[in-house]
């Protein structure tokens, strides 16, 4: 698509009785400026979406329009991605993680599948930054992110929670099932040679929210965080599970004895 195409398109739109407010013919998506009878701050894809299909434009002009529309959508996708991800690591950012946590908590209340959260803080990361510089520090963070992405499942969500702290959301996963996963990530991270043969370990905290819980869902993060600090205080490079999550199979939970009695004699074939 070239300058001439866009000029012609604009001429044709004007000829069709529509106003073209602001123009920038330099490149595709900006060229759209704000077309038609729209206010300046309205988005381009909206302007395009409102284009009347009955406009008497030439086939070439329509082609140009469609191309502009494609560019516009691609740009919006990029913008959305930028909003949701952490630039440095490519993981989801804190805001998106928090929003997804809310969604998953609602899902727990509906489906009764447990939701686990892993918090990870790198051990001695400050030292890396201080002795090897921030550039190396950034490379380490990006490498850690890759280890996380390589080891979580498709339905899990890894995010950079802030600084050198990471968080993983594990829908439909009990603490018992999340623990081996956290262990695996811990081991892979410890064995992983980052940039310049540098090795970094992490402290992991694990907590689980289940529909039987009567606690505030927001506490699942708090608990995972506290478990993570326990791991850190105990020397790092280990996974700790929030204490109450280990106790949860007692209390009002259905015991295996009760479960056995319930299902005994019932033929579900």
């Amino acid at each position: 698509m070239n300058q001439v195409d866009i000029e012609r398109l604009i001429e044709e739109i004007k000829a069709a009785g529509r106003q073209v407010l602001k123009l920038d013919g330099q490149n595709g998506w900006r060229a759209l400026g704000v077309l038609l009878n729209l206010e300046e701050d309205e988005s381009l894809s909206r302007a395009l979406g409102m284009l009347d299909l009955t406009l008497p434009l030439s086939p070439q002009a329509w082609e140009t329009l469609e191309e502009l529309q494609r560019l516009c959508h691609a740009r919006e996708r990029d913008l959305l991605k930028t909003c949701l991800t952490d630039q440095l690591t490519g993981l989801y950012n804190f805001q998106h993680f928090t929003a997804q946590l809310d969604v998953e908590v609602s899902r727990v209340l509906r489906t009764q599948h447990p939701l686990s959260v892993i918090m990870l803080d790198l051990d001695g990361f400050k030292m890396v930054n201080d002795t090897l510089g921030h550039q190396t520090g950034n490379e380490v963070l990006a490498a850690v992110a890759q280890v996380l992405l390589d080891n979580i499942r498709a339905t899990d969500l890894a995010a950079r929670y802030g600084g050198d702290e990471f968080a993983i959301l594990l829908p439909q996963t009990s603490a018992a099932r999340a623990l081996p996963l956290a262990e695996r990530i811990r081991a892979r991270l410890a064995a992983h040679k980052l940039c310049n043969e540098l090795k970094v370990t992490g402290s992991f905290g694990l907590s689980c929210f289940r529909y039987l819980d009567r606690e505030d869902p927001a506490q699942v993060i708090e608990h995972a965080d506290q478990a993570m600090y326990q791991a850190k205080r105990a020397g790092g490079n280990q996974v700790r599970v929030w204490a109450a999550d280990q106790e949860k199979d007692r209390g009002a939970e259905v015991t295996s004895e009760e479960k056995g009695a319930l299902l005994k004699g019932l033929d579900f074939s």
């Binding site: 509906r110 009764q112 009760e258 479960k259 319930l262 019932l266």
Partner: protein, 269 residues
């Protein structure tokens, strides 16, 4: 009927441990059949955030329970005629602003509801799935508890978990089991018998077998038509089962005052 001779309404909570057992369909069709028996019924959609009673009824209410709780609407504006012989207090569908209400709001809602209770013979709480504090709160406030379950192991163990948790919180209660999607009455009787043995043994609790609706393809058709089964296919086997069940519920009398005071002692989540 004058205000002097009017009996206080019977408040019945319809719950299920597991989601997807057809709880809302049961509540809606029981209310409809109670209407046919000349009783005035109100269905309160307590499934905040994931409401669907309005959807099953083909309604698009402009105000819902969230507006009431957030002070944006008065009770008279929120309660609507379902068009099927009973009234509905709809909840918001998909709105994340209120999923689990605080016990303070829950008390306020129940106090507000108490103001209109006199207009009804039966008030049915369609409570959400699971064992969140909101669900338990509404079930605790009711005179009688109907528990909907299907002949699946998970539905049975979840129903037991529900009985256990609610009993642990409020002491022994009357639970009425309603089996949905059963092959035949014998299947319901068999599961009731098995579940009853376990609750007697572990919880010292006797369960009532309230009724059973067969797996009825017409029910799905009625859902897709957004019209209750009892209106669309009044002679279908499931509709007849709801009718027999409603006739039983009609004879229930409040054996205690609606215990708002007990809600005040409802432990905070």
């Amino acid at each position: 009927m004058t205000a002097q001779t009017k009996k206080p309404p019977l408040v019945v909570a319809v719950a299920s441990g597991k989601g997807g057992v057809g709880k809302t369909n049961v509540a809606v069709n029981l209310a409809l059949e109670l209407g046919r028996l000349g009783r005035k019924a109100l269905v309160v959609d307590c499934d905040l955030g994931l409401a669907n009673a309005d959807i099953l009824l083909g309604l698009s209410p402009s105000k819902n329970i969230s507006d009431l709780l957030l002070g944006r609407a008065r009770l008279g504006e929120v309660i609507i005629n379902s068009g099927h012989g009973f009234d509905l207090l709809p909840a918001s569908s998909g709105a994340a602003e209120i999923v689990d209400i605080e016990s303070r709001q829950e008390r306020r809602l129940l106090k507000l509801l108490a103001l209109v209770f006199d207009r009804y013979d039966h008030v049915l709480f369609d409570t959400g799935a699971g064992i969140s504090s909101t669900v338990l709160g509404f079930n605790q406030a009711a005179h009688e508890n109907i528990l909907v379950l299907t002949p699946e192991p998970t539905a049975i163990t979840d129903a037991y978990a529900f009985i256990k948790v609610l009993t642990a919180q409020t002491g022994p209660r009357r639970f009425h089991l309603f089996f949905n999607m059963v092959q035949n009455q014998e299947e319901a009787a068999r599961i009731h018998d098995s579940l009853n043995q376990v609750t007697q043994r572990f919880l010292g609790l006797e369960l009532d077998l309230l009724g059973a609706a067969p797996l009825d393809p017409l029910l799905k058709k009625s859902v897709l038509a957004r019209t209750p089964l009892g209106t669309l296919y009044p002679d279908s086997p499931a509709a007849q089962a709801f009718r027999r069940t409603a006739a039983k519920i009609e004879t229930w009398a409040p054996h205690q005052a609606l215990d708002l005071a007990r809600l005040l002692s409802h432990p905070a989540p």
